[in-house]
């Protein structure tokens, strides 16, 4: 029987299929949004309290106030660049990167190539 973790993971994976951010988009974000996204890229998934801890551990000049952090998280989740499961203190955030689309070459080209590579 699937546990809570499996269920949450399935929910996250299903939401990740929608949209997402590209690495190049990161360059256009405001410094505050980019800071959060870069932390999330390294951590993959974080709870809200853990994100607050990481923020509090930063040097004073780099730290975001709680209000700024909350606003930034709200913007990032609205854009589907972060996925949020749960609410407020119990929220879990996960980064959502846009999938690289495959080649748009006609399908016949790939099947011919596959046939040649089988030989």
């Amino acid at each position: 029987m699937p546990g809570v973790f499996d269920r949450l993971n399935k929910e996250i994976e299903s939401k990740q299929k929608d949209g997402g951010i590209t690495a190049l988009d990161l360059a256009d974000l405001s410094p505050a949004l980019r800071k959060i996204m870069k932390i999330m890229l390294r951590e993959l998934q974080m709870t809200y309290p853990r994100l607050c801890e990481v923020m509090d551990a930063m040097p004073e000049g780099e730290r975001l106030t709680r209000n700024l952090l909350d606003d930034a998280l709200s913007t990032l989740t609205q854009q589907f660049w972060l996925i949020r499961i749960g609410e407020k203190e119990k929220a879990i955030y996960k980064v959502n990167l846009k999938r690289k689309t495959g080649s748009t070459l006609a399908a016949g080209i790939w099947s011919s190539l596959d046939e040649k590579l089988k030989k």
Binding site: Q16, G20, T22, A23, L24, L26, A27, D28, P31, R34, K35, K38, I39, L41, R42, E43, L44, V54, V95, N96, L97, K98, R99, K100, T101, G102, S103, L105, W110, L113, D114, L117, K118
Partner: protein, 261 residues
């Protein structure tokens, strides 16, 4: 937070010696006693495995298998320290903590990636999990030349970015683009490395001019040498010929990486 550092090695143009440099830097850092991983994210044209003595017959699971969900990161890591092969230079890595995470060199698997695209959530999960699963101090990423999406992801997630360029106007212009992007992605430590500099040049002058042009440190200027070409990727040059000028300069770059706190 993950403690291991991600070191991306990039060049705007091909043929700068990126894979050779990545493999040798990773080996030097492993020789210094660090736990090191090397990931080949050049999925379209992988090559770094050759420098570590791997071919299709020895290669097990690959990054491609991980991306397709048929292998875990643990299954992909190939322990170089336990499989140094017969090469004299690589033999010095015996017992060292160095793992290679290769990309597939099977034509069908490369074409499958090109056809189906890449799940970047999965790729990023792989990169970050590699550090935690293998308790790495450093993860070196060998990137595809130019700016594609895999490369941008590795730049965005790097602690240290080393951009390799030759003293050539095409490389200089391309490097400007990469430096701009790295800065806009807030890469914490950006370094340049000049490779294939003609020995007749004044290397100190090259370093000075390039540092002034890009406002970034040049961690080494390495000479163009037939000796390296003659090695033909059969061995790790800096381990086999440690007293060669190329190897000495490369160790300077490795020291610069190790000095980053």
């Amino acid at each position: 937070m993950n403690k291991g550092k991600i070191v991306s090695i990039h060049s705007f143009r091909g043929g700068t010696g990126k894979s050779n440099t990545t493999a040798n830097l990773a080996a030097q850092v492993a020789l210094a006693g660090k736990r090191v991983g090397v990931v080949d994210t050049d999925i379209q044209s992988p090559g770094i495995h050759v420098l570590f003595g791997l071919d299709e017959t020895k290669m097990g699971k690959t990054i491609n298998d991980f991306l397709h969900g048929t292998a875990t990161i643990r299954e992909i890591g190939f322990p170089i320290g336990e499989n140094t092969g017969g090469a004299e230079g690589r033999a010095k890595l015996a017992g060292k903590n160095l793992w290679l995470f290769p990309s597939s060199i099977r034509g069908r698997e490369i074409s499958q990636i090109l056809r189906e695209g890449v799940d970047f959530n999965k790729l990023n999960e792989g990169l970050q999990t590699t550090i935690s699963e293998f308790d790495l101090d450093y993860l070196f990423i060998d990137t595809h030349p130019g700016l594609n999406e895999e490369t941008l992801l590795s730049i965005a997630t790097s602690d240290i970015l080393i951009i390799i360029l030759r003293p050539d106007n095409q490389d200089l212009q391309g490097t400007s683009v990469t430096v701009d992007i790295a800065r806009s992605l807030d890469v914490p430590h950006l370094m340049l490395m000049v490779n294939k500099a003609l020995p007749k040049y004044d290397f100190a002058q090259i370093k000075k001019e390039i540092e002034a042009k890009f406002s970034a440190p040049v961690s080494g200027v390495l000479p163009l040498t037939f000796d390296l070409a003659d090695n033909a990727s059969n061995d790790l040059f800096s381990l086999r010929y440690p007293d060669h000028e190329w190897s000495k300069s490369l160790r300077g770059v490795a020291d610069a990486i190790l000095a980053v706190k």
